[in-house]
Symmetry: C2
Subunit: 428 residues, 2 copies
């Protein structure tokens, strides 16, 4: 196979331009590696007149990505527009109907419509690849789908949103509040137009749902991801966690339990000496655990023009070389619908609360925990602020259900002011 592989690129934002740059700069290198030239036939974006700093004059222009997807001179449709409905979805479907392979960087599209799109593509003998949708430049989809294909995967863990990790590490380094660092990050352009996609864990939840599907041979089910953002994390929690040898991370965890598939994206404490604990700033890290391989840790840039374009090109090169792996590692029609297991796996928890200065207050809280079957590993009470005193408790392993029962009981004690903070401590 020595004919050129012809790309149609829909979307000329950061990622689309990154892809154009790689194809223009590395034509010879790509051709030698793939055994055939990689060329761009056509591009599409909202504004044709915008100056994007690259020469697009050699490529056909399409205003409509659907028309681009249907062009006879396009072999691979590259979807880097974003958005889980509207043009991205329509154009991807049009590409499949027109017999094109698809490479996408769109985590929302794949997390929500991935099962249907993969079935549609596979029935037509086509592939959809989405390496760039998960953890930017880290080839984690490939590692999981191909490199570890001989393993039963036991757990996937990861820090998959660089903006959240930036915020949490910056809070600690500068001793700043969440709100102050959030504003700073927003001004620096580190956050999505809708910041809740980042700090609410939605973006990272999309990525986790995609990795879960591959790891556990289940239909991607973003709605089953237990989502909790980082907005409630205070600088006090970060300091207390540090005192005890932990870091707070927005951590994705997926594992198959006896009760079903557990998928969580939530703040967790991890040991500060672990690779995840040591992860600073905007970098991503994914930990893959398999029954034969043990633990593999992958670390790298989770976003940005170069890294994301690199991941797209990895997928393009696979297609150019004739490697046609199923989207989720096995035929989409063989993926099971997973039963969602919420909070199935027990863990120790970090609790922080304000106790009213009343006789026996601490005893009442300890009693509520005991009634819920939760034993205490460590407890500290700090100096009084006015009429309340901060109390910090680390429990032994407990289920979230038992913990929620205890937290409800705390209210009934009448000695807890406000809502206690509860953060899971994850073994990594």
């Amino acid at each position: 196979m020595t004919e050129p592989l012809r790309l149609g690129i829909a979307g000329l934002g950061t990622v689309g331009i990154g892809i154009v740059r790689i194809v223009q700069k590395h034509g010879a290198l790509l051709e030698t590696r793939a055994g055939r030239p990689i060329v761009i036939s056509a591009v599409s974006a909202r504004s044709r007149s915008k100056n994007r700093g690259v020469d697009l004059s050699g490529y056909a222009w399409e205003d409509d990505p659907v028309t681009l997807a249907q062009r006879p001179d396009v072999d691979v449709f590259i979807e880097v527009m974003g958005g889980h409905d509207g043009p991205a979805k329509h154009a991807t479907e049009a590409a499949i109907k027109a017999g094109k392979d698809v490479v996408t960087a769109n985590k929302a599209l794949m997390a929500i419509h991935g099962q249907a799109l993969a079935e549609m593509a596979e029935e037509a003998g086509l592939v959809i690849r989405f390496e760039a949708a998960v953890a930017g430049g880290i080839p984690v989809v490939k590692a999981l789908t191909e490199g570890l294909a001989g393993n039963a995967i036991t757990r996937v863990i990861g820090v998959m949103n660089g903006s959240c990790n930036y915020i949490l590490t910056r809070m600690e380094d500068a001793g700043l509040s969440y709100d102050a660092v959030f504003d700073e990050a927003n001004q620096l352009g580190y956050l999505e137009a809708d910041p809740e996609l980042d700090v609410g864990g939605i973006d990272a939840g999309h990525k986790l749902a995609l990795l879960s599907a591959i790891a556990f041979a289940t239909q991607v089910d973003f709605d089953a991801v237990e989502l909790e953002g980082i907005g409630s994390i205070t600088i006090e929690d970060i300091h207390q966690a540090a005192d005890m040898g932990y870091k707070i991370k927005l951590l994705g965890v997926a594992q198959m339990t006896g009760r079903g598939l557990e998928q969580r994206m939530s703040p967790c404490l991890v040991p500060d000496t672990s690779p995840l604990g040591q992860l600073q700033g905007g970098t991503n890290m994914v930990v893959l655990e398999g029954d034969s391989v043990g633990q593999i840790v992958l670390r790298g840039p989770g976003a940005g023009e170069g890294p994301t374009a690199s991941a797209v090109m990895g997928d393009v090169m696979d297609i150019a070389r004739g490697a046609r792996i199923s989207t989720f590692g096995q035929p989409a029609r063989t993926l099971r619908k997973a039963r969602a297991a919420r909070a199935a796996v027990a863990a120790p928890y970090y609790l922080r609360m304000l106790l009213l200065d009343k006789p026996g207050a601490l005893a009442k809280v300890a009693h509520a925990l005991g009634e819920a079957g939760i034993s205490i590993d460590r407890m500290r009470q700090y100096d009084h602020h006015d009429i309340t005193a901060p109390v910090l408790i680390v429990t032994h392993k407990t289920t979230r259900t038992a913990l929620d029962a205890a937290l409800a009981d705390f209210k009934a004690t009448g000695v807890v002011s406000g809502t206690p903070v509860a953060i899971r401590i994850e073994a990594v």
Copy 2:
């Protein structure tokens, strides 16, 4: 393609048995992922009667791996015997001549004969894959060859020998001498039958040479790797390095320079806060740097039954799925012979020496450095031992050539006792 993929396994040591275990345990999972059954047709090893703890009765037995390689019921020849000449080489060649794809875990075979074997296989339309030969269970060959295929690779760095990393971290943790920890590791069975393969950097050098070939599109050239083992590292060096914020690692570095391809496997200082600096015990880590992706770090078990078998099965699954990538990422006949550049890239160095207690001794050493064009970043002189005083110098960036000139001059000063220790400080 739904016919079974039939394996012939030559070598039933740890890795071979690990492969048998995966195929027996995960038959259904492998079949679903590959779209076809993965079966073992035949096995071969030195002793047929040895009890290996797995049931081999369903497989044909061959005393001779060459005969195994030629069996008509074998599609993929799996070479996990070891040794770069003799049976491993003969059987691999026989397999290719008989039209079989090859998967090998044999780093020495591939580092020494990889170019010839890859050319032979590719002329016949066959593939040789060697993921298990580099960094055990970490899918680094795949990441470099496929995931980062859109990048010009700028540097490959890694800790690729778990035994050496175990020795160095154990020396530091326990405050023990190299000899003491070496004996301990040897008794625990952590070292090769010929320990020089580990501590001399040869095993890790093989792995580096293989990654270099992929990264820089050059013919694998193990002889061009500058090799230096860890035998001269003292507990004093480890302590001094730690004082200054560094760890000592047996570090492989490959990069293309204006003067040619530099490949080094030698002890280096790396910042203790870097991922490489934080790597403890027998784990491996490879850092891949590309012009688009930036830096990717891969960490995982570098040896052992499960991890190595996992890597072999990753290659087998690729073949089963019809992914047929060139051994070194592009056709072997297109790989260039690289010019070897020794010590082309300048770096700061750590120097430790014993100065005789003579007036002006330190000045003479400083003068020798100055004459060689080397400036001093930091210098410490410690309390006298008898008639000598330990002196520690960190230089600014210099070439190895300039440093060697200074070290030669040190002798002429008559104030340096014994041979100074010089360890490169690598920016990671």
